[in-house]
Symmetry: C2
Subunit: 580 residues, 2 copies
């Protein structure tokens, strides 16, 4: 039917009666038209998908060897598909099965998923099944992704930050089909997700309640579950995968690899930022820089009398390097995006600290943890590969489209925040002066001036600008914008960008801690000294830190084995991290 | 045990050995200490709470007349408590029961809940059971809340925007006890929430997975449920309330009360903003101004050829005034924070548009809808009671502490957003010039220059500043900050603040549409004319709109009865809105 009829009718009416006061009458066919029009096309379409599976004799419990049949039966060309790919947990069996489907039957699929980490994800594009991608993070596949984009075989809708993509799941990127991973399913079809709940509940809710199809790969079938994470009536099909879903230990850093430069930077961050602002609620990005801070809490920070005054509440994956701080009583609470391989038993044994279920295992939730990271944390501290002189940073470098994960979300100042905290208020006063009507989030970028292969971190122009052209994107893929960054920490000192009053000051503040990089060498020495006099730039000595104290002795753990000891044997590191 | 011992040991070591290279050894008692220390005090505490209920002979299914006994058994002085109070659904029976508990047994409770809408919520403070409040919205109780704050009987932690408070549930404001409302419980204890799921899943997840106690009031007990919204093992106790939980029809506006000035403003907004930016993804605040826009979509907007080009994807409660636009095919998708009284059958009959469950009823979710409103919407348009000349606005006026609900979240520019849309890019170019590295959210404030009792909306100073002193708050309770506002729409015209280059220009742009308010009369006429020449200010005639066309004839529905007709009889308005 012509749904524009009421308006059309109104226009004709209006032309005929010009400005009569009788007004426009609801056409008598208003009711009829709503009867005539189909309002449940999505459900009818869903029914047809399920009927195709049923007529192929496939029920709710799908035999492993019929999964491709199922996918080809319930999926359609042009479908919007989420193949659950988290930071850790991967629906790898379903991803490989989909990649093995017939491109003649399934094509022009649009992937809407946070992480593109498996080769099979990119096989979908190379084999001609999928053509469009909306995502957040690609990690190890970044180089291959860049190549496929250059070859015009992938059209990237956009790179999102996690929470942004989840928001779109409920607005304009709702999946037609969700392929998810669970630990176990019970006889009724309820799912248990184990410690890596991550984003499964979010994906399933968006898909199941907009007439989508939800297919779960499970590691085991059980009569009863330790707890129910996803109710049975939200899930259409379950298949027991031939092997447990892959989980990547992405958040484990070996203390043995932490350098004394990193120890020095960690001391500067703790004394110059954590202590000065009294940062109690925070998130740490992953990397050796922040791992060093975590390992200095029970030693250096405790000596400074900071226990209970900093780092009490965290939005964080269970980092093994945080074990000594937890055991030393620094940490009150941690809510996690996901879990970490080897930390299961330790987390389960520390329920006062972590969010765990009645069964004892952790319930992580990336959507809620990102929400806490955005609105409830006073500080985000992370690292980057490149930073320009406006403070814009990006991990997207030429030939690699890695995405940003949660960094843009947690590394931005949330203008909607209304609750105050000492750290937030102090940062707000520094940024806005005495008349500030709101506080500021602390967004700290911690980098050594040169990264591997002596590539300078500080550059006149980010690769992101060239990458934008290669991607044909509307904007350069900047991870964190300079105007959101509050501090830059390098081995040369701390630059407090909140205190900079002009773009020129900001540029010199950044050059002033850029060391011997070309950008650092090009500093205006007088301007930098002036910024130092004003406390915008602070050197190690300005912070009252003796560089000779910056030894690995300060690390509460200097090896993975030390972490195991700290955990009382509860932490069980993956074999690749065991050298004993 | 002394959890600081490792660090302490390290300090002594260090003093003794100064800068030896042997480093600091993990004290041999590291393992012992972790064994010695209790890590499950929260669970032990929870067990004691449940034991007290059990020893009183109260099981999972609580008789109505023993609810006070249960509350006094499982709750403790100083508890952090969330009494589910949504915009609509209220755990009213549990709230009244708690307010009837003995202040000698339960006191110093800290309320952490989004909405404080019931008299019983404030009775908790007057009767001495509760002393501290962290919330988002108080609505009808705003005046009484202000009085209790003045009397120092309530200490307000902070006023939050919804998503911000949810974030804190997982970081530093996790409830010890959650009192929630559900439609039905089955024999196993699973909950069905009906169309008003709202924030129940968020509250329960935060509480249940940090060893808290969850008590649900239900309207009915059923053998089986239409669908499961909350799994049984997340809930400790259920009580069948003597009457169904109260639901407030907060989002219903009677078209009969829409004035022709509001019709004119709606025409200006549609032609001058919606059409120019091509706004497809949006949220509407509640009020007659935005109701007028909703009712002009099938008529005026359709005549302008905007169907399919604006207002296709919504984060919105089911506003009855949106029915004609939905029936006319304007709307593709709506995800809702909560439901609306009387809209249940209509929503259930339009599954292509709304998110509904297998049972046909809506599944709303305030946390996810606010996330979509923050990160996936290109525009937020709402109203306010006061706006100053920097564009700061607030609904908090003297003697009333109402809170802001979702406005600060959706009415702010999310710096973490990375995906582009035409509307967002155009706004970004206007705000940042050609070199903008990101877009901008459209945040539109739509007000008549005078509100009821001829109180001017535009003021030199917000009441919020006086209110701050009265509340003893760190910052004035500003709802939306001026630097987040992109447009101000009044009956006098549209001011585009994105195009203002200085605070002075912004002030004159606002004065320039402030009409005959004192702030408007004090405008610099030359400056305002210059802004109009630059298109920063646009009058009705600049938009090519004939004010004579602004009649109620343009409204697709001019009464609640019209809305019922548009809905094909599916919309069933509450009696207070029926005059036939």
């Amino acid at each position: 039917m012509d749904v524009s009829r009421p308006a059309g009718a109104w226009c004709q009416e209006r032309l005929r009666r010009s400005h009569s006061t009788s007004g426009w009458d609801i056409p008598d066919n208003a009711m009829n038209s709503s009867e005539a029009r189909s309002w449940d096309s999505l459900r009818e379409n869903r029914s047809r998908r399920l009927e195709r599976a049923a007529s192929a004799g496939i029920g709710r419990e799908v035999p492993c060897d019929r999964i491709i049949e199922l996918l080809e039966a319930v999926m359609q060309p042009g479908d919007r598909v989420c193949i659950e790919g988290n930071n850790q947990k991967q629906a790898d069996f379903l991803a490989e099965s989909l990649a093995a489907c017939d491109p003649a039957r399934l094509h022009d699929l649009s992937l809407v998923q946070s992480v593109l980490a498996l080769p099979s994800h990119l096989d979908l594009f190379e084999r001609g099944l999928a053509s469009r991608l909306d995502f957040s993070f690609s990690g190890p596949q970044g180089a291959r992704l860049a190549r496929l984009v250059n070859e015009k075989r992938i059209r990237i809708g956009a790179i999102h930050t996690y929470l942004e993509l989840y928001g779109r799941y409920f607005l304009d990127l709702t999946p037609n089909v969700a392929l998810i991973a669970a630990q176990a399913v019970d006889a009724r079809g309820n799912l248990y997700l184990g410690p890596n709940a991550e984003e499964t509940p979010t994906i399933v809710e968006a898909t199941a309640f907009k007439a989508g199809v939800v297919i779960a790969q499970v590691n085991e079938r059980r009569e009863t579950l330790p707890r129910v994470d996803v109710p049975a009536d939200w899930v259409d099909f379950t298949v027991r995968a031939p092997r447990p879903n892959f989980i990547e230990p992405l958040f484990t850093r070996d203390p043995a690899q932490i350098t004394e430069v990193q120890v020095l930077m960690a001391m500067m961050a703790i004394k110059g930022i954590y202590a000065e602002y009294g940062v109690t609620r925070l998130n740490h990005g992953i990397g050796f820089d922040t791992a060093a801070i975590e390992l200095l809490l029970p030693t250096y920070a405790a000596e400074l009398g900071l226990k209970g005054r900093i780092c009490t509440h965290w939005a964080l994956n269970p980092h093994p390097t945080l074990i000594p701080a937890i055991e030393s009583g620094f940490v009150h609470s941690i809510h996690s995006f996901g879990s970490e391989v080897g930390m299961e038993a330790y987390v389960a044994a520390r329920p006062d600290v972590f969010f765990t279920g009645p069964d004892g295992s952790m319930r992580s939730n990336r959507a809620f943890c990102q929400t806490a990271g955005l609105y409830a944390c006073d500080m985000f501290i992370g690292s980057t590969l490149q930073m320009d002189l406006a403070g814009n940073s990006s991990t997207a470098t030429l030939g690699r489209i890695t995405g940003f994960g949660g960094a843009p979300n947690m590394g931005s100042d949330p203008h909607g925040r209304r609750h105050a905290s000492p750290a937030w208020l102090k940062a707000g006063r520094e940024a806005g002066g005495a008349n500030a009507t709101r506080g500021r989030k602390l967004v700290v970028q911690m980098v050594e001036t040169f990264r591997e292969h002596m590539a300078p971190v500080f550059v006149e122009e980010l690769d992101a600008w060239k990458l934008q052209k290669a991607m044909g994107a509307e904007l350069p893929p900047i991870m964190i914008h300079g105007d959101d960054v509050s501090h830059v920490v390098t081995e040369e000192g701390i630059a407090n960008l909140l205190l900079c009053r002009t773009p020129e000051e900001r540029e010199q503040a950044i050059r002033g801690v850029a060391g011997y990089t070309p950008a650092g060498m090009a500093r205006d020495k007088a301007a930098v000294e002036n910024l130092r006099d004003r406390g915008v730039i602070r050197r190690v000595e300005d912070l009252g830190i003796d560089p000779r104290d910056a030894t690995r002795d300060l690390l509460a753990a200097r090896s993975v084995k030390d972490l195991v000891r700290w955990s009382g044997g509860l932490y069980s590191p993956p074999s690749r991290f065991r050298n004993w």
